[in-house]
Structures are given as structure tokens and as C-alpha cells.
Symmetry: C2
Subunit: 400 residues, 2 copies
């Protein structure tokens, strides 16, 4: 979803460094869906139309953009309906209905267990039997570029034994990938894992900003609340599941075997490269480029999207168009592949050294974090880019 | 929000056993707000107009309904705009944005701590310092009367050590009261406790249906998910905060003293009588009336609405019109005042005996639970009714 200078919000598709205005293309009668679905401030109306329309629309857009096709030009849409990406405003692509955050990386859950519950068994007994998840705050899912105001809250000082109030001193990121639900489901009727592709439209990058000190004090017994709810950033581009077909791979083995409702046929792991860039205000002032602090891949994740969807609805909970389901932090097996600072710096005890000479255990004001993702582009495979999701940390408000 | 036979959804106000159609009254120019706010399928448009409009509208409706006022009759609205409640369909009053569930009853948190973590300290160290809460599923908030399909899921058999799958065998209710946000707030800017009345439009009864066996197995470390997300029922009537002014009372003392951001001036406890009725299929077949299984009062609750609102936004999380914040189970100090079956039957060990000779530890298929609430009606005080929220348990689906 984008907004051209002086224009209304509308749905577009990325073509290299440009955006093609699908509202204009549909208004010219060139797309197999109601033009109103594209002349809209979110993808939701298009998402609700279902897989047959998603696939037909994607195929048709591909056709229109094939070398030699003159339909866009004949309809007077070139260059008018093609905008340079940097001349438009990229917006929140989806009106988020409910936001669910999983905890599906074995390595992340093990690392967090070690850090949050030292001395205990890192992985709790339920973890290998079900994809653990909780509901997050849908109203604070924000588009890439939204400033992230450092949250205030209660945190326990280990010495005092009492909580104190103030700005979080352990502000962190979580590198995640989320899927967006297109077609909803009926209350009381579970969605089988086999039907996942009928409901999942596509994927976005997610930065689940986390205040570790607030989270550690508040999270028992009902889970994370204010440690997460201040902001969750998503990328402006939703990559359709169809576009990811060449990059699907066998899921990793699961031991013990899962219950029947969690069994999913087909290759549902995704060979999606991911990285985290950190750019401090000091680096920016010295003209230094952002530093890559983690490189990982979504294929490491233990629980797959059909399993997540089947689990989230097995109790009869319904889906709605615009539901966002995030993977949880994507961490690989080695330290440089972890998707959060609390893991990369091991609870802040091993700060990162940055090119401007500074160190980082957790984020400081002025830091910009950017997540990037892409599939392929190597070995002759096409490249499918997810673009980026970015946010800069702003100082906490003075009050409180 | 109601739907007259063959008509569109619209906003109404309860007058005894009738509903006054506010869309018709506003269309006749008799209300101080845009008629479109009432000719709507939810209260949200009206809620967004803010406290001055809420108060002026309530005052004006009271004036129109005063004995001797002839304006409704002169406009041809009596009897046409007055519908018997049992001739219309009462709908979900609010399009729920985010749903947050607190855990604000000291007695309930203590009881659940004893039952879920036997041998440990019942109240966790954070409980008296902050109003513990988690996000629930907004998309499965349903109106009174919606059938509640028994959820399936994983639960741990104490003997097996491994989870099994099937219909919940510990289906429970939670008697709660929720407040609905009218006016939202800006991301990054906390809402002070003193501003609560600018944001809170009114209150509803909430039944937060809970599958205790599913919840017990899944809830660590990220909190309740499928044990709660299959359905949350709310009453059709939203009682405006203004109407509750005569029933406000001093909040109970809090020890230790709370942090400054949680201090709220004024009387924010509410003398709201609550009860839980259970009607089994067997009782219905014998013509027996519902049995009252609990009587309690909202004034027992430890954390107040301004404290809940200030806490939920202190990290900068924004509010939206339609946000629902529920109290958590309202339990009083004595066994007959508990707001859930797991407390009333002490984990199922002390089943209730019912008038048809049956026993209940947890809910069986065919059981209907109704929550009722009212303020006053005694000692010369006016009575303000909350109506009822009701739901009947349906058998689990066969698949799985």
C-alpha cells in the first residue's frame, strides 16, 4: 500500500525500484478483480477475495510486465502508473485484525530459557509438542520507518528487590517473519494444516521490539504484555506465498513426533535469508555504513506455518482477514545467527563492538535497526526480495 | 446495537423492556450527534465522538423520555421507534479493536496461584506492584447468546507425562466486567490515570470462557492462548460511565503503595452486584429454573480502571476506539463469591450439587451459563441494570 505525492492510499506492486499502481491498472479493466479492492487504504479487501483471485492477479500482473506486452502502454498507464519507490510513501499494508506471535525457533527458545530461567531446564516440557504462542497488540503494529519511542515501565533491580519506574535499559529487537491471513474461517471450526494455503496470502518481515527488563518483571504468570506492546514493525511489502514456491524446502525433523492435527504434508520450510543491520547515530555522523550484526535463515525454524495455523485454530478460534501470525525470533545454531540482541550479547554480558568504536549490549537512543530478507538470487535461481523493515529509537518521554 | 425484524443494524438504548431506536431519533434531528453515528452496525462511530457528546446525548435521551415530554410523539417516533426487546436481535455492541484481560482480583489470583502452582507462593512477586494482564483474541469476542463450542486441544494427563488430544474436560467460565474505550490515544504517549474518564465510554459484562486443562499445559512461558481464545462473550448493553456515578466507591487500600503513575484520584471502585446462573439441560428438561452458583461484587477488585488504563499505556502503547479491557475474574473473599468453577469447586474436587440431582465440577454439553449485573435498586437508590450475558455449551466437533 502506497501513497503517491498528493494522492490517495492504494495498492501497488514492486517492480525493481518502482511501484506499479494496481488501482490504476484495475480501473483500466486490466486485472481480474474488482478495482475497489486496489483503490483502498489496505490490502484487506483484496485479501478477502481468496486464493484463486490472488493467483490470477499475480499471473496477470506478470503478463502485463513481460517484455513485449504493450497493454499498459496502450491504456496510457506507462509511465503514469509507475512511480519511483522513493517518490511515494509506503504505508502499513494490512489492517491487522489479531496479532499472534509464536516462539517457533528451537534455538531462540533454548537461548531465552537459559537467560530468563538460569539453572532450570531451558526448554519447557510443552515446547516440542505444540507451537507456543501468545496474542500481541494489533493496534501497535506499525509500518517500517515509524520511530520507536523507548518505552517506560517497571523493572526489577536485582539488588533492590522492589520495582522501579523508568525508561527501559534493555531495549531489544526480534527478527521475525510473519504471515498474513487472507481468507478467514468460521468460529467453532478448526482449520486443518492441509488447508493452510487457502488462508495464507503472503509473508512480511517483522521486528518485534522488546523491552527485556520490563518483560522479565511482568511476564509471570500470564506472559509478555508491556515488554512487547509498545511497537511491532512490519515491512511494507507482503510477498505472496505463490512467489515463494521455488524456495520451499523440507521442514526439519521433529522429535518427538507431533500429534495428528499438527502433521502437514509438503515442503513448508522456507529458504529465506535474513539479516539485521545496526546503524548508530555515531556511525551515521561519521558517514559509516550500517553494520550487519546477524545473518540467519528462516529454514532453521522448528514449527511450520501450517502447523502454526492448525494449532491456533484447533480450539475453534476463528481467523479474520488481516490476522498476522509471526514466527517468533529466528535464531540459527551459531552465535552470529541469533535474531535478538539479548542472544547476540548473551544477556548483555558480551557487548557488540561497532565500527565507530562504541559498544552495544542493548539499543541506545538514535540507533536504527533494519531487517532485510530475500530468497534466491544465487545459483541461477530468481531473487525474490522482501525489502526492509526499519525503525529508529527515540528517547523516552520525560514524564512518568 | 440491535436489529429489528427485517431491518438494518442500528444503535439503541434500553428503556425497561423496550429498545429506543436512536438512529430514528437522530434522523428526526432530536439528538446532539451526527445521525450516521447511530445508523451503524456498531457503537464505534459514536464512541469516537468523545465524552462531551456521550454526556450530551445521554442527557438528551433522558429528557426525551421524561414523563410529559412530547417530542418523540410529535416526531411520530412513538410507538414506531420503540421496539420490545424480545422482538429484536441484540448484537455485538462494539467492533472490538484489541482485547486485554487483566487479573485484578486479589482473591482470584491467590486462588488460581494455589491451584495452578501448588506448593509455591500463590501470589507472584509482581502482583501487588502492577495490574498483571495479557492480550486476548479480539476476533473471538462474541455477543451474548452465541453458542460456545467445546474446544479441543492438547492437555497433559498427570499419569502419562505426555500430552493427548481431545475435547476439553475442564471447561470453565470467568465472571468479569470490561470497559470499552471510546477515544483512542497517540502511539508513544502514555494516558495518565487522571485522564481515564476521557477514554472510557462504558462497561459490559464479560464471560471469559476458559479450558483449564488446555491452559495448564500451554501457558508457560508466554501465557494463556488456546485455553481462552475460542470465545469471550460480552453483554449486548454497554452501560455508560456517566450512569454509574452514583455507585462509585473508594477503592480498597493497596499495600505496598503503588508507583506514582498508578495513583488515581477519586472513587474508582464500583458497587456492582454480580451473579452467575447455571442451567443444565437436565434442569431445563425438568422445568427447573437456573441455579445461582455465585454472587459477588465488583468492588472487591484490587486494581481500578484508571490504574489498568495507565498501566496498559505507560510504555507508549496507543489506544483505539473499541478497545476492550476486562477486569479478570471477579472473586470475593468467601467461596460462594468466586467467579469461576475452578474456584467454586476447588479444582474440581468439590463438585456443585444441582437441583436436578446432578453434580458439576466443570461444564457439560448443554449447560447454559448466564452472568447478570446491576447497581443499586436498594435503599432508595435508582437501579442500573447491565442485563445479562449468556452462552450454551455445544459438543466439540468430531474431527481432530
Amino acid at each position: 500500500v502506497f501513497q503517491p505525492a498528493g494522492g490517495q492510499l492504494r495498492v501497488g506492486v514492486a517492480i525493481g525500484e518502482h511501484v506499479l499502481d494496481l488501482a490504476a491498472v484495475a480501473a483500466a479493466g486490466l486485472l481480474p478483480a474488482d478495482p475497489a479492492a486496489f483503490a483502498a487504504p489496505s490490502l484487506n479487501a483484496f485479501l478477502a477475495l481468496g486464493r484463486a483471485t490472488w493467483t490470477a492477479t499475480r499471473r496477470r500482473v506478470g503478463e502485463l510486465l513481460t517484455a513485449g506486452n504493450t497493454e499498459l502502454r496502450a491504456a496510457g498507464l506507462v509511465p503514469g502508473a509507475l512511480h519511483p519507490q522513493d517518490a511515494v510513501h509506503l504505508c502499513l499494508p494490512v489492517e491487522v485484525a489479531d496479532y499472534v506471535d509464536f516462539y517457533s525457533s528451537l534455538e531462540h527458545a533454548t537461548n531465552l530459557g537459559r537467560l530468563f530461567r538460569p539453572g532450570g531446564e531451558p526448554l519447557l516440557p510443552n515446547w516440542r509438542h505444540l507451537p507456543v504462542a501468545y496474542h500481541g497488540r494489533a493496534g501497535t503494529v506499525v509500518p517500517s520507518g515509524t520511530p520507536i519511542v523507548r518505552p517506560c515501565g517497571q523493572r526489577l533491580s536485582p539488588r533492590a528487590g522492589e520495582p522501579s519506574f523508568g525508561p527501559s535499559t534493555r531495549l531489544d529487537i526480534e527478527l521475525e517473519v510473519g504471515f498474513v491471513v487472507g481468507v478467514g474461517s468460521r468460529l467453532g471450526t478448526p482449520v486443518p494444516a492441509a488447508d493452510a494455503a487457502e488462508h495464507i496470502f503472503g509473508l512480511v518481515l517483522v521486528n518485534d521490539w522488546s523491552a527485556r527488563d520490563i518483560q522479565a518483571w511482568e511476564y509471570q504468570p500470564l506472559g509478555p504484555f508491556l515488554g512487547k506492546s509498545f511497537a511491532t514493525s512490519i515491512s511494507p511489502w507482503v510477498v505472496p506465498l505463490d512467489a515463494l514456491a521455488p524456495f520451499r524446502a523440507p521442514a526439519r525433523p521433529q522429535d518427538p513426533p507431533v500429534l495428528p492435527y499438527l502433521r502437514a504434508e509438503g515442503d513448508w520450510a522456507l529458504d529465506l535469508d535474513l539479516l539485521v543491520e545496526l546503524h548508530t547515530a555515531g556511525m551515521a555522523a561519521r558517514g559509516l555504513p550500517p553494520e550487519v550484526i546477524s545473518r540467519t535463515n528462516l529454514r532453521h525454524v522448528y514449527w511450520t506455518m501450517p502447523q502454526q495455523l492448525a494449532h491456533a485454530t484447533v480450539n475453534g478460534a476463528s481467523l479474520r482477514t488481516g490476522d498476522l501470525f509471526a514466527s517468533g525470533t529466528v535464531s540459527g545454531p551459531e552465535p552470529g545467527t541469533y535474531g535478538s540482541l539479548i542472544e547476540l550479547t548473551w544477556g548483555g554480558t558480551q557487548p557488540l563492538r561497532l565500527p565507530d568504536g562504541s559498544e552495544r549490549a542493548f539499543l541506545e537512543d538514535g540507533d536504527t535497526v533494519t531487517l532485510r530478507g530475500w530468497c534466491g538470487g544465487d545459483g541461477g535461481r530468481p531473487r525474490v526480495g522482501f525489502g526492509a523493515v526499519s525503525g529508529q529509537v527515540q528517547p523516552a518521554p520525560l514524564s512518568g
